[in-house]
């Protein structure tokens, strides 16, 4: 499959960069103090999640790998959008399956989030079948 070895922190230190393009070796106390490394550098990246998905899959953990792959699509998605989607997925929040399907289209077109979109469409169908699109408050 690949030469990926764990921990990725050690094996892929050269390959991985932070959200602002710095190397892992740049994440030193000195750089934090100097302000050249900021809070934004300490978030996970799409690439790291895909590497972790690979590690999980090699360890026969398919579902964990799929979760990391879905997560890789949310790295660039703002918190507010994530909470909107979470809210829509709760029972009775969306008025119809169309609302979820529309959100799926949006995630696909704006963020290229195909796995997330498929996941939302799957939820829409399940909710429809189980009559979840009803008012709760």
């Amino acid at each position: 499959m690949s030469d990926i070895s764990y921990p990725v922190m050690d094996s892929a230190a050269d390959k991985l960069t932070t959200a602002t393009g710095k190397k892992l070796s740049d994440l030193t106390l000195e750089n934090v103090l100097a302000g050249t490394v900021t809070a934004a550098d300490f978030s996970i990246t799409r690439e790291a999640l895909l590497l972790q998905a690979e590690v999980a899959r090699l360890a026969s953990r398919r579902t964990l790998a799929e979760n990391f792959e879905r997560a890789s699509e949310l790295v660039g998605v703002p918190n507010e959008t994530i909470f909107e989607i979470y809210e829509l997925l709760r029972p009775g929040r969306a008025a119809s399956a169309d609302v979820l399907k529309e959100r799926a289209r949006h995630m696909r077109s704006v963020y290229g989030a195909n796995r997330i979109a498929t996941f939302l469409e799957e939820a829409a169908a399940a909710y429809e079948r189980r009559s979840l699109f009803r008012r709760r408050y």
């Binding site: 764990y6 921990p7 990725v8 922190m9 892929a12 991985l16 932070t18 892992l24 994440l27 106390l29 934090v32 103090l33 490394v37 900021t38 809070a39 550098d41 300490f42 978030s43 996970i44 990246t45 790291a48 999640l49 590497l51 972790q52 590690v55 999980a56 360890a59 026969s60 953990r61 398919r62 579902t63 964990l64 790998a65 799929e66 979760n67 990391f68 879905r70 997560a71 890789s72 699509e73 949310l74 790295v75 998605v77 918190n79 994530i82 909470f83 979470y86 997925l89 709760r90 029972p91 997330i116 996941f119 799957e122 939820a123 399940a126 909710y127 079948r129 189980r130 979840l132 709760r136």
Partner: protein
């Protein structure tokens, strides 16, 4: 007539029941088995038979339910959990055969988890049903995801005081916890709680994972700011009704776990027997079957692990017949599904200390990824989650269990110096950060009160309103963990700054997102690079010599030097008289005489009894008793034996009356008669630790009365049932070794003359 009337009427009940009624156990309620109403640990008639149908690469029937009738949970399990490539093979296995393979050291974990991924909830519940508690424990030893067991602490307090949170977090780290979980009394205090804990957790060693349990959006935001590194608040349920009542669905929860991963935060779900029953949607299923659904769902969601085994429902599940076994079966099932398992034990499930201690044993002895998903490292009243199974009061009890059974519970004994050091350091560090970031100016007296306090009732610290203001300020001014690092460094807390930075660095690569990850010595340890490879004796996790030294160090352990050291001899050279050897002891002629036979080490190596009486006082008591009863005495030192019976018999055979007293320096004494068998003594004081000088006095008197041909009432030492042996036997054994060491088999009894110093 009047005598009869004054007697109380006979009770109409065996009085033992009255005593049982008053025991703490009776505060627990015990539920009758009643499957129809959800009170069945396992095997409810309503539980389905395991079944699975696959058609055209799709599950079309699951545990007797056709695809068209799938509820949300069935559908999610069918779509995401069931591994179609192994399902036909796995479902065809005989459940009992598979249960046997779980306890077969020749079948590796990987083969078992491979097959479990093709099993339905009903199948898994059926498999678990074949295992006894001891078999479950053995299976758990084999199935745990991470080789090295660990433990998680609750760190909270009733005042949401960030100074105390810092001190208690540092204490928890020093005790060895690998994860710390906090929550608060006032929801808006989340940010202050996070700051207190994260700074405290950076004291001593880096690498402790931290979570702040709060509403999802807030939790994710606090995580984004770099304060937290894991979350375990993603609850799932085994019935659709409970799920929807809990305002979620499998998809909403799965999405949330994805969101945590997308922010580099380790996540585990929460489920646990009894939750559906509490929420009123049990569908008449057994607790174990419902948990099987929860766990299949979690695996399908792709979360790395679970916090399960009763959890909030543990007291309810524990009330049901077989509840203890069921709760542990939940943990084993999680491990079988290849999930990290934080095995509950985070709720005080009983008022009986015996039931509490027993409940921890399966997880502690077999080892889970986290023995407790929240050990109350603080006092029970400070626990904002409600009291845990074990709390701050009982940490040393837990340490004793680790030591007794040579098991890894993740904790390490703490010395008094170390506790104060880390607490002081943590309070100073968080106070410095607060000052640097303009959050507060903690006073010295406030800081000091927290350092020494066992719980928040003893602290003089921020008011509730001040904490709310601190928390709001952190949130509103957008303070992140990098600001905290800078503040720590600026004020000289360089090591703590580095430790906190190492936690931030983790999330860039995400290694801690893999199954069962913890951080030890700056290195990730997870099911990937520390996989459980147990395959029978000599394999898997073994306590190293170094680790054993830590575990076995119980506070105030005593050894020979403590019993015989300088400090332990307060009566040495402090006697009212000297015992002067006066040649070989001869047979006495005085018919009123009682010979007192002292043991070989009396007054030489040993100077007080286990009850703490000065030996000269004890001898005085015996002598005054003899003389008061009209007898005379002679003192000899027996040197060929240290055994009480033989001491007594030797003394009796030297005595003119035929009666003698044998006494060991630790205080055990006997009256003997010269014609008796060695072990058929006249009277025995075997409970030296509770024998008083008055008892010795009366023993002396009785010996004199026997010598005079009387038959006195025996002297009884009242015993209240306390664990005397646990309290005294270490010292007793060491003392007695000195006695046996001083014996000389060929030495004859020696006459002793008492020379008063006055």
């Amino acid at each position: 007539m009047s005598d009869q009337n004054s007697k109380p009427p006979l009770p109409n009940r065996w009085q033992r029941f009255n005593q049982w009624d008053k025991r703490p156990l009776r505060l627990d309620r015990f539920a009758r088995e009643d499957a129809k109403n959800g009170f069945a640990a396992t095997n409810s008639p309503a539980d389905p038979k395991p079944s699975l149908k696959i058609s055209q690469g799709k599950v079309v029937q699951l545990d007797g339910v056709a695809e068209a009738d799938f509820d949300l949970i069935d559908e999610f399990i069918a779509r995401h959990h069931i591994d179609l490539s192994v399902a036909p093979e796995a479902m065809a296995l005989d459940a009992r055969d598979f249960a046997r393979s779980l306890v077969d050291i020749n079948i590796p974990r990987s083969e078992l988890t491979r097959l479990a991924k093709g099993m339905t909830p009903a199948k898994l519940a059926e498999v678990m049903g074949h295992l006894s508690t001891v078999e479950l424990m053995f299976a758990q030893t084999k199935l745990r995801a991470r080789r090295t067991p660990a433990n998680q602490a609750h760190v909270t307090n009733a005042k949401d005081d960030p100074l105390q949170l810092a001190a208690d977090s540092a204490t928890a780290v020093a005790l060895g916890f690998d994860e710390i979980e906090t929550t608060m009394r006032v929801a808006s205090n989340g940010w202050a709680n996070a700051l207190g804990c994260v700074v405290g957790a950076a004291v001593g060693r880096g690498g402790v994972l931290f979570q702040c349990s709060i509403e999802e959006a807030e939790e994710l935001t606090i995580g984004m700011a770099g304060f937290t590194s894991y979350a375990e608040t993603v609850s799932v349920y085994g019935t659709e009704g409970s799920f929807i009542d809990g305002d979620d669905t499998p998809w909403s929860k799965a999405f949330l776990t994805t969101a945590y991963a997308a922010r580099g935060i380790k996540a585990r779900c929460t489920s646990g027997g009894g939750s559906e029953l509490l929420m009123g949607y049990h569908d008449a299923h057994s607790i174990l079957y419902l948990e099987a659904r929860c766990l299949c769902l979690q695996r399908g969601m792709g979360v790395q692990g679970t916090q399960n085994g009763g959890i909030d429902g543990a007291p309810l599940t524990y009330s049901v017949p077989g509840g203890g076994r069921e709760i542990f079966a939940e943990n084993v099932m999680a491990a079988l599904l290849d999930l990290e398992c934080a095995s509950g034990n985070d709720t005080r499930a009983s008022s009986s200390e015996i039931r509490v201690g027993a409940k921890i044993m399966p997880a502690l002895v077999s080892g889970t990824d986290f023995i407790c998903s929240g050990f109350g490292s603080i006092l029970s009243y400070d626990n904002s989650f409600a009291a845990s199974l074990f709390n701050g009061e009982e940490i040393e009890d837990f340490l004793a269990l680790q030591r007794d059974f040579v098991v890894e519970g993740g904790l390490t004994p703490l010395t008094e110096d170390r506790a104060l050091d880390v607490r002081r350091r943590a309070v100073d560090a968080v106070a410095a950060v607060m000052e640097e970031l303009g959050l507060a100016q903690p006073r010295d007296d406030q800081k000091a009160s927290v350092v020494f306090a066992s719980g928040s009732l003893e602290t003089d610290t921020f008011s509730a309103g001040e904490v709310v203001a601190i928390s709001r300020k952190i949130k509103d001014s957008g303070i992140t963990a990098t600001d905290v690092i800078k503040a720590l460094h600026k004020r000289g807390f360089v090591e703590e700054a580095r430790n906190l930075l190492s936690m931030l660095r983790l999330r860039v690569a995400g290694d801690h997102l893999q199954t069962a990850a913890i951080i030890r010595d700056g290195r990730i340890l997870s099911a990937i690079n520390d996989p459980n490879d147990y395959a029978g004796p000599g394999t898997g996790y073994r306590i190293s010599e170094e680790r054993w030294r830590e575990i076995s160090q119980m506070r105030d352990s005593i050894g020979r030097s403590d019993v015989f050291g300088l400090g332990a001899r307060p009566h040495d050279g402090n006697s009212a008289y000297a015992l002067i050897p006066a040649g070989s002891a001869a047979l006495g002629r005085d018919e009123k005489e009682v010979v007192i036979g002292l043991s070989p080490a009396w007054g030489i190596d040993i100077h007080e009894t286990t009850a703490g009486h000065k030996l000269s006082d004890v001898l005085d008591a015996l002598i005054s008793g003899i003389e008061n009863a009209g007898g005379t005495y002679r003192v000899v030192r027996v040197r060929h034996t240290a055994d009480t019976s033989f001491l007594g018999l030797t003394a009796a055979r030297l005595s003119g009356s035929g009666y003698g007293i044998g006494i060991q320096a630790k205080g055990t004494a006997v009256i003997h008669q010269k014609d008796r068998y060695p072990h058929m003594n006249v009277e025995l004081f075997s409970m030296a630790p509770i024998t008083s000088l008055d008892h010795y006095h009366r023993l002396g008197a009785n010996a004199a009365r026997f010598a005079a041909g009387e038959n006195p009432e025996p002297v009884l030492v009242a015993y209240n049932g306390e664990a005397l042996l646990a309290k005294h036997h270490v010292k007793t054994a060491l003392l007695f070794a000195a006695e046996t060491g001083a014996t000389d088999p060929s030495a004859l009894p020696e006459e002793l003359r008492l020379e008063r110093h006055t």
